[in-house]
């Protein structure tokens, strides 16, 4: 019996030849991360338990990205705790405002994750790093505190679901549409406790940015992790990371065996997936964007750990360039990192978005979780490229969030209601 890529990575990290789904193992942690919401609680638990030393200051990342630049006095106090802890323990990967980005965009872009790594994070969207063929999963603050002290984590080896996406994508269909469609298909607990392995020619055809987007939302199907196998695109992405970074020097490539055991194999006709939207109040509540033209909107959010990469902003700009945002709509751009800002400035993406009437934010999680920088009032509706549309997620409990791709979000920003690029007469996919 063969092994899945996830089982092989976990066997390596556990110092074993083979592990099987269902086993509980102790795995070595290659990177442990937390943010300004989850780290303060972890620091308090770490210190309360009497730990005085972290296992390796270079393998911990503290990323104050959620409520920064500090949204209020209490948030400033929480950020201060993280900053002081980072200084005290010489945490190498601590990022101050001005250098910080949204954690799941920033850390892989800095080359802190290599294929075959085990990454755990006190943030549910830590599953993003499967985009570079690593195993990564979200946990709570106490698990992060334990990993900081121990350098290991206990893990239940998950069963895997193999998703096979085949066929040529329709115009304006992205990795975001594929993952929303998938969550709609299996439900918000359809992959509970399981690894989601994304395969097939349609996934191979996706850019790295879109693969990160798919892995990022594995948690919205209840998944423990999402992963895409290593290929030439992965190799190209990794070789473009900063010189001397882990992504350039380390890592081990694993592949699922043909006879690996899966809990399920789900075949998806990717050519039949339309631009897709998740309606309130669950990511699984999906519909074709084209069927929702009667939904008028007040706000559009483009960015976040899900869709805040350069390719995402370029997709939005390709729709908005030379046009004006609908007068009743406010558009907020949440770039993933400062580098994304620089790249977007260099290639004209930022100018196109600003000239169209979008507000360009500093990198922050901000409104995605109803923190700051774009909170909704009662009765307001947003189309957002973020990852959750739960009750009250972006503001008032009487507000609504519709999840979509950057293309659909940008088209909706022009139309004033949910729209596809096709509906507003956009040309071919750029």
């Amino acid at each position: 019996m063969g092994s899945t890529i996830t089982e092989k990575i976990l066997a390596r990290a556990a110092g074993r030849d083979v592990v099987q789904a269902g086993e509980i193992i102790e795995a070595q942690v290659d990177l442990a991360l937390a943010n300004d919401i989850t780290a303060p609680l972890a620091i308090a638990e770490f210190e309360k338990a009497g730990f005085t030393k972290v296992f390796d200051p270079a393998r911990i990342a503290l990323v104050p990205d959620h409520f920064t630049p500090n949204k209020d006095i209490k948030a400033a106090g929480q950020s201060k705790k993280v900053r002081e802890f980072a200084r005290r323990h010489g945490i190498v990967n601590y990022f101050e405002v001005g250098r910080v980005g949204i954690e799941h965009v920033l850390l892989p872009d800095l080359g802190l994750v290599a294929p075959g790594d085990v990454v755990i994070g006190a943030d549910s969207h830590t599953c993003t790093y499967g985009g570079v063929a690593a195993f990564s999963t979200g946990m709570g603050s106490t698990d992060f505190a334990a990993a900081m002290a121990w350098g290991h984590v206990w893990l239940h080896v998950p069963q895997s679901i193999k998703f096979v996406y085949s066929g040529r994508l329709q115009p304006w269909v992205t990795g975001k549409d594929l993952i929303l469609h998938t969550i709609g298909l299996i439900g918000v607990d359809g992959a509970l406790y399981q690894a989601m392995e994304f395969t097939g020619d349609a996934v191979e055809g996706l850019s790295m940015d879109e693969r990160f987007t798919m892995c990022n939302m594995a948690i919205e199907a209840g998944g423990k992790s999402g992963i895409v196998g290593f290929d030439e695109k992965t190799a190209r992405y990794l070789s473009a990371r900063p010189e001397g970074s882990r992504a350039r020097l380390d890592g081990q490539v694993f592949k699922s065996d043909p006879d690996a055991e899966y809990a399920r194999v789900i075949e998806i006709d990717a050519a039949a997936v339309p631009p897709t939207v998740s309606k309130p109040h669950l990511p699984s509540n999906t519909a074709a964007a084209a069927d929702l033209a009667d939904i008028k909107i007040d706000q559009v959010v483009i960015g976040s750990c899900t869709n805040g990469r350069l390719a995402d902003l370029r997709q939005a700009a390709s729709i908005l360039r030379g046009k004006k945002v609908h007068p009743d709509v406010r558009v907020i751009i949440l770039p993933g990192t400062q580098q994304v800002c620089l790249d977007a400035a260099a290639d004209g993406t930022m100018q196109a978005l600003i000239e169209a009437g979008c507000a360009f934010s500093t990198p922050t999680c901000g409104p995605c979780l109803g923190g700051h920088m774009g909170i909704l009032a009662e009765g307001e509706r947003a189309v957002s490229t973020t990852n959750r549309n739960f009750v009250g997620r972006m503001g008032h409990t009487g507000s609504e969030v519709y999840l979509a791709s950057p293309y659909v979000a940008a088209a909706s920003a022009l139309a004033g209601h949910i729209a596809t690029p096709e509906m507003i007469g956009a040309g071919g996919r750029s």
């Binding site: 919401i37 106490t142 669950l282 923190g371």
Partner: protein
């Protein structure tokens, strides 16, 4: 952790009034993110369930039992969620199933949780429930029914018995240093 906060410890019986919820209760409604600029348990508890049940914090009595259907605690990894529930006075959460991160967080923060789909489906707000962690049963005193619960895997029971993850890690590191 003290015996009081250790879940699944021997001889733990909880009896209380039910607060029942549906499926897919996410951590954003358990504790909305706008209140995550603190990790003070009392403050977090004062906003518990606010976005789906404004009356909860006024109604809940110490020892009460929270009941929900499938996928309780889905979404964000915020450990503030089990902390808020516990400090609101809830003694134990009974659900048809738990989201993965919430399940770990509950064990790590000492919030007792029990997987029991039949009891979760049947219980209504206001029912009296008796949860016996040693016997592994959930008894609905209002309806006169008793159901068995899923046992924790042995490793998790060991974590619980040792007082939680951090004491476990501490003893592991001490043993490694000594050897």
């Amino acid at each position: 952790m003290t015996a009081e906060t250790t879940q699944g410890g021997r001889g733990m019986v909880f009896e209380g009034t039910v607060h029942a919820y549906g499926r897919d209760v996410d951590t954003d409604v358990i504790i909305p993110a706008r209140h995550l600029n603190t990790n003070d348990p009392a403050e977090l508890a004062s906003h518990c369930m606010q976005d789906i049940d404004e009356e909860f914090v006024r109604r809940v009595q110490p020892g009460d039992i929270m009941v929900a259907l499938e996928n309780f605690g889905c979404g964000s990894s915020r450990e503030h969620a089990p902390v808020a529930i516990k400090h609101a006075g809830v003694s134990v959460v009974v659900a048809a199933s738990f989201a993965r991160i919430f399940y770990r967080n509950a064990i790590n923060t000492g919030l007792p949780i029990v997987v029991c789909p039949q009891a979760a489906a049947e219980a209504r707000t206001g029912d009296r429930l008796r949860v016996d962690l040693t016997a592994g049963t959930v008894e609905n005193l209002t309806r006169g029914t008793t159901y068995g619960v899923e046992a924790f895997p042995p490793f998790m029971q060991e974590l619980i018995d040792r007082g939680g993850l951090l004491p476990y890690v501490k003893s592991r590191l001490a043993a490694e240093a000594a050897s």
